[in-house]
Subunit: 483 residues, 2 copies
């Protein structure tokens, strides 16, 4: 599969045909023009013969037909914000990039149904800008600004999943273009919350890294923008108290809990050290060993409900003081979230980042963290673990930094791979967790997919992929067993 | 496919082998013993050679291997509460029933993770009884008491979907036995809220009427039992005001809204006429033309939040009086829900029921209902439409009754089929709705699946079915194009 299947003259003929479909702005072949499409957001630098930039669904259908006929492989790209190298071509040059960033004409809001029909190339921010005047938003809360198609292909989760669910839980319908029969359109654009009319085929395309078909349009359930929020940065008594705090919040504040983000003391220290505009929120107290950023939100009208969420949060925390909670800062939501959002940048100042996107049952968190930290301290004492995570949904960025300096081993990719394997083995085998919580699977972590996915599951995923893309032209990720 | 593929002597040999696997209690062949397994909850009376009643997953694996080897077709049955005839055999005798009702040993609750691992034969009531001491419940609210496996196979929704979602949205993992390779186990029993490690294979088995594989275990997200509810039966100004009321409630009471059930005046009249213990809740006012049963619920601790939901509801409705709302009864939640739950029984007293389980975008409800009522009044004036529906999630039971009496045409199945086709055509073609909202697809409505599902979707669904069950031994429902 790694050698181009088309000859040079065939490729030239294909490019001429594609130019006919896409017009002058729709086809890039100059290497400078193509550069940003071949560079991954975190991993990967590839090369491509051309970038196809259709701005209509019909052009995509035509491109797919032409490419399938020519045996030309495609890699799909939305806003190119993915973190597993699934949206950029490899270095072989055998792929052309099919970019959907210009497919963004259509945004149709149905406020009574609380739904929106949207082209796949529309970005999350563009969608939310269009929804805002109606008091609505698409509640998948991410650090990046991906396209809607990319969000579906990765089934993104984010920081507020416990309240709103992931993309899958908010996707009512979609339209996809298939590779087999090439260019066939599967139109499943319904805007229904209840619809059980046979197998739900749209599920095939969610979280499949673009390997099963090309999403060109989505119908999404949207939500009302909250009318008030209350935020606190809380220091739990110890690690076990983090889980106690989560259970108590779900019991006492239940429907209001929108975020429960654990932040390690090491991550917090890095933020204060490298981001000068952020100061210790607990001053004059020293920084804690661990803290939790928690948020309550209410979408209801406070004049009708009489709810003042900040008071609710204060009351809830007061009951816990001295027992579950040692310290807390309530209010200043923007400032507190700034701390949380500054972690990734701060970590980069500390050295080379080794990022993790793992998850586990919430009940495993304390034991996993203890064991993970002990493992690292024993075997890789020069590595700094600076973890943070979405405890309410089980997601954990068990991130680490490899610093530079005297007495510290040189950065070594093989050691990094060994660390990743040990941490993933721990989370998957011992704690029944996942090696990829919200970033999906692509070339960057495909070897781990093969390591942790049962043979039965790989066989079935591969059979489906062969059925949907028998020439194996779509994307870089093969979900079947290694051949 | 309609003739038995096994000869009598082969069948006898198979029964002996199955008896070896299942033991004395696990295999029924006596026609009296089998009767309750061959009679559908609403439709269908079939016959079967035997009922297989495994009580372990391993027995199911062995049964599947033996049946696949013998070419023996199976129909899966949970608690046999389905309404589309998918869980009972047809009259040909070519099926044996694989009943999962004895597969119910395992219920393992993780209260910190708010999840439960449960055998497929456990019923909804049994599950909720086990969860109740932990303050937890599985929130799919149904009139029946199905098995968990059946609920997944039908992706049931129910009356509180707007708050809790459907089964799909609460299913974290499952284990299935495949027909190809026969008896292969696909173990996807993770308890994770964030897990994107390739195509989500468990989705194949949700809402597929048991045609793609045999679910033997599920991992479910569960929820905290609400601490308070507030209920009202509300008379909106007119039909348009129903949608206004829904929008206002979502704006003002948002996260508390758990049910919004429309009830037609005709259905209400039937309840009062035939259920003597229920009296007019609006007395001394006459019955309204239409009313809405709405429910708010809060899981949070009222001592912490200070919320009194009944006051919230009163305040909200007071603002609407004279404009959107004409009358309302607040409180007496049990009595008000009794009215709603009595509708089906009351309708049976009125004549022969023609049941509908349709859905549409919420924004289409008023126009659909107007047009549907006008169509019936014009073409079938003797039929009484007595509809009710879950307006918040778009579900609508546009049920009707064919009464007996002087001047009324004799009940005629062909006319019923014509009515069903006209109503489905209206909802699907004109209002972009669904002919099966929450009951799924089975022999009862397979012809409508074929009528309303695009060829591309049927081809893909059929390809998957052929891949998963090449001998076509599993169940009565073929999702591919008519052959």
């Amino acid at each position: 599969m790694l050698t181009p299947t088309t000859s040079n003259s065939q490729q030239q003929a294909l490019l001429v045909a594609l130019a006919g479909v896409l017009g002058a702005h729709g086809l890039l072949t100059d290497a400078n023009d193509c550069a940003r499409f071949t560079t991954g957001a975190r991993y990967g630098q590839g090369s491509t013969l051309a970038v196809l930039r259709p701005d209509t669904h019909e052009q995509i259908v035509d491109c797919v037909r032409l490419c399938a006929e020519a045996g030309q492989a495609l890699v799909l790209q939305g806003a190119n914000t993915g973190l597993v190298a699934a949206s950029t071509p490899d270095a072989t040059g055998r792929f052309v990039v099919l970019s959907l960033e210009r497919l963004k004409k259509h945004i149709e809001i149905d406020p009574i149904n609380r739904s929106v029909t949207v082209d796949a190339g529309v970005t999350l921010q563009e969608l939310n800008d269009a929804l805002e005047p109606q008091g609505l938003f698409f509640p998948i809360d991410l650090g990046a600004n991906p396209s809607i198609g990319g969000m579906i292909a990765a089934n993104t989760g984010g920081a507020r999943l416990i309240k709103y669910g992931d993309v899958r839980q908010n996707l009512l319908g979609l339209r996809a273009v298939l590779m087999q029969p090439a260019g066939e359109v599967l139109d499943l654009q319904s805007a229904l919350r209840k619809n059980n009319t046979g197998p739900d085929l749209k599920q095939l395309f969610i979280g499949s890294s673009g390997a099963y078909g090309i999403i060109t349009r989505a119908v999404l359930q949207v939500h009302r923008i909250p009318k008030q929020t209350a935020t606190a940065l809380v220091v739990p008594r110890d690690q076990a108290a983090v889980l106690e705090l989560l259970s108590i919040l779900e019991r006492d504040c239940s429907e209001f809990l929108t975020a429960f983000e654990g932040v390690s003391g090491a991550a917090l220290q890095a933020v204060l050290k490298h981001i000068p505009s952020i100061s210790n929120p607990f001053a004059p107290e020293p920084l804690p060993n661990y803290c939790v950023l928690l948020e309550l939100a209410s979408t209801a009208d406070p004049q009708v409900t009489g709810i003042d969420l900040e008071s609710v949060l204060m009351r809830c925390l007061e009951n816990l003081f001295g027992d579950v909670v040692e310290n807390a800062v309530v209010g200043r939501g923007k400032d507190l979230w700034r701390i949380r959002h500054a972690i990734s940048e701060a970590l980069r100042h500390e050295g080379k980042m080794i990022a993790f996107d793992i998850s586990m049952p919430r009940s495993s968190f304390v034991a996993f963290r203890d064991e993970g930290l002990a493992l690292m301290a024993e075997k890789y004492p020069w590595i700094k673990v600076m973890d943070f995570g979405h405890w309410a949904d089980g997601g954990c960025h068990f991130n680490m930094v490899w610093p530079q300096g005297e007495g510290i081993p040189q950065f070594d990719n093989q050691v990094v791979q060994a660390i990743r394997t040990e941490i993933y083995d721990l989370v998957v085998h011992r704690y029944h967790g996942s090696f990829s919580a919200e970033h999906g699977v692509g070339p960057y972590n495909l070897d781990f997919y093969q390591r942790y996915t049962s043979t039965a599951a790989q066989v079935l995923a591969g059979k489906m992929q062969s059925m949907l893309d028998p020439q194996r032209l779509l994307g870089l990720t093969w979900f079947g067993p290694v051949q």
